[in-house]
Amino acid sequence: VTASRRTLTRAEADAFGRELDALRAEVVADLGQRDADHMRGVMRDVHRLEAAGRLLLHAGVDPLSFTIGTGCLALAKILENMEVGHNVMHGQYDWTKDPQLASHDYEWDHACPGSDWRHTHNYEHHTYTNIVGKDRDVGYGFLRVCEEQGWHPRHLAQPLVALSLAFNFQWGVATHHLHVDEFLAGRMSLAELRTRARPFVAKVRWQLLKDYAVFPALALWNAPRVAAGNWLANTARNLWTFAVIFCGHFPEGVAVFREEDTRDESRGEWYLRQLGGSANIEGGSRFHLMTGHLSHQIEHHLFPDLPASRYPEIAPRVRAICERYGQVYSTGSFGRQLRSVAGRLLRLSLPTRGASATTAAATHVRAAA
């Protein structure tokens, strides 16, 4: 399963980094109207899909309009979260200076407050990608996704836990910032947890009110139908985002890293870690759009603040650079990556020992340093 990565010297890693920097500069210089138009076009589609979905849910009485309405709403939520919210909040469109595309102001249709997300995701996850103990996205605190996380009998329930996380993914993401595990371990006081949770509680209240009180109430006798449609749309979005995000970091062969190996990492070595810790999903342009271009997880982790719709264009060149430096460019079909993630979660739910695929991969940065 594991293709071998060539260990690079620091000089080689720096040269690798310079090539990626040059590629980045080329895209930055080319950013323009079409990027702004793309994002506004997606935003327009989100508004239209959501309006259509809600109209069908509110006004219809038959199962067909329910199904189509829920589908439109789910599509709208997926696009809004992944292509618009995630990417805008990364600062991918800050260069337009359009206040509606400003990263620090954007608030998405999701239980996680934008401010919490920008911290845990943009900063923690993207800076410390796949460093065990520093990137809290590695297993989200309760899944065992690599050997470095010691085995515990509770991991036997991991397949079920993963499945329920998939169904409730927005809540997993939203509570991620709270560090509930720290609180349970007695390392955080209740008062501190309460302070941390303030934006979360406020956001969740309004989100629940919107989907399960205000919109259903507007539908009068159709309220249960609308609430059910909203729940289904939210859940479909949860399943989809879970699948895409787990395929981005946890297929077999994607590396994790030890903190001590990454201490004085150079920019080139940071790039190498981003590459080693990410995996792509192959698909068509519509599929890429539906994933917010996180199907190009590798390009996203190398260039998190470049407009994501540019990733498919630069992917062949990124891949060529990686191959030239003997680096694995991990990619596969959605089905293959999903099976791989499932296999990894199942395998690691049992006690494992010895140097495995993930540990072996973890050493490549250190050896290079």
Binding site: A36, H47, T96, H104, H119
Partner: protein
């Protein structure tokens, strides 16, 4: 404001807050914007209703702003945001209309000027521009001075025109001399309007100084001004024009001890911020507007690091330019992005502190 109006305003604010929390405000903004391109709850948007070519390189854009435009005082300017190749760019332009009339801005095409050229070449009737509010101190005191001298050159005629139109509308043109400097008669904006104003208001005297006139020595001529306006010492004077003209008039007034009679309007937006040389160790001053801190800084180190060293604790994250946690509003000055090499020297731009080095004195909203 009546009790009923206050109550309505209160309800509107409350409804807007609920809509914002339910994320419905974006939908309202979008759908109302689809129906009316100038609708916005956050920005002043104005539809272009008429474009008037004043001269070969000066155009007036008559605008119908949305209700967020709260009016201007004669002589003030507004900012105009246009999107050029996906990027919003902002410039200041003087309002040329009188308060109460249809809003108009007048724009001279600056050679090599991106925004003025774009406005001239691309903006058509029906397009929508984003405006800032009206601002500026180039306004007549109240009550208006009994004797007035208006002095302008080139596109400096714009705010002066607003003042003249305002005086005319209030029937307050008692004793006004307007001296305008231009290269040729064809370069004089508002020509027909000025002649009509002078015909209707005997208190207005127009003096045109043309560089191509037989007796002209070109540009501003102090002796000539004294000869044409012998009582200029008694007149409150308002001056707006190109830097050369302004410097000479200001020097003349200062030498004559009349500096307090003179009010000037400078089109500062066009002047680039003087930047230190690239390379290391140039010393600049950083001012943090909100906390009032001021410290000297080096042009070789990131602003984040230097603010921290000076005792500040700005929000930040990755310290390598990827997470955008340290984005902060730069109010003035020039900074260079260490990753892209791009320089931000316009006022009021957002910058990433961790990868920005100062290139001039800088003021930040921290």
């Amino acid at each position: 404001m009546s009790a009923l109006e206050r109550q309505t305003a209160g309800w509107k604010t409350a409804a807007a807050a609920v809509a914002r929390h339910l994320l419905l405000d974006r939908h309202a903004e979008f759908w109302r914007g689809q129906l009316d391109g100038t609708f916005s709850t956050t920005e002043i948007r104005a539809r272009v209703v008429r474009v008037i070519a004043e001269t070969a390189d000066i155009k007036t854009f008559v605008l119908a702003p949305n209700r967020r435009w709260t009016g201007h005082r004669a002589g003030q300017y507004t900012t105009v945001d246009v999107e050029i190749d996906g990027v919003r760019v902002r410039r200041c332009y003087s309002v040329s209309s009188a308060p109460g009339d249809a809003l108009a801005i007048t724009v001279k095409r600056v050679p090599g000027g991106r925004v003025s050229s774009w406005l001239h070449d691309h903006v058509r009737v029906g397009d929508v521009l984003v405006l800032g509010g009206a601002a500026g101190d180039f306004v007549l005191p109240s009550p208006a001075p009994a004797k007035l001298l208006l002095l302008s050159g080139g596109s400096g005629a714009t705010p002066v025109m607003s003042i003249l139109r305002d005086l005319a509308a209030r029937d307050a043109v008692h004793d006004v001399v307007y001296v305008h400097h231009a290269r040729t008669r064809a370069d004089v904006p508002f020509g027909a309007d000025l002649r009509a104003l002078a015909a209707r208001h005997p208190g207005l005297r127009l003096v045109l100084e043309l560089d191509d006139a037989a007796d002209s020595r070109g540009g501003f001529d102090e002796a000539r001004l004294r000869q044409r306006v012998p009582d200029l010492a008694e007149r409150a004077t308002f001056l707006c024009g190109p830097p050369g003209l302004m410097a000479r008039v200001e020097a003349m007034y200062a030498a004559a001890g009349l500096a307090d009679r003179l009010t000037s309007e400078r089109f500062v937006a066009a002047a680039p911020v003087p930047r230190v040389a690239d390379g290391d160790g140039q010393i600049v001053t950083v001012r943090l507007g909100r906390s009032g801190t001021r410290f000297t800084a080096s042009s070789a180190t990131s602003l984040l690091e230097q603010i921290e060293r000076a005792g500040g604790r700005p929000a930040h994250g990755c310290r390598m330019g990827i997470c955008h946690s340290c984005v902060c509003r730069k109010q003035s000055g020039a900074v260079r992005n260490l990753i892209t090499g791009a320089v931000s020297d316009a006022p009021d731009e957002d910058i990433q502190l961790c990868i920005s080095v100062p290139q001039s004195d800088v003021e930040l909203s921290l």
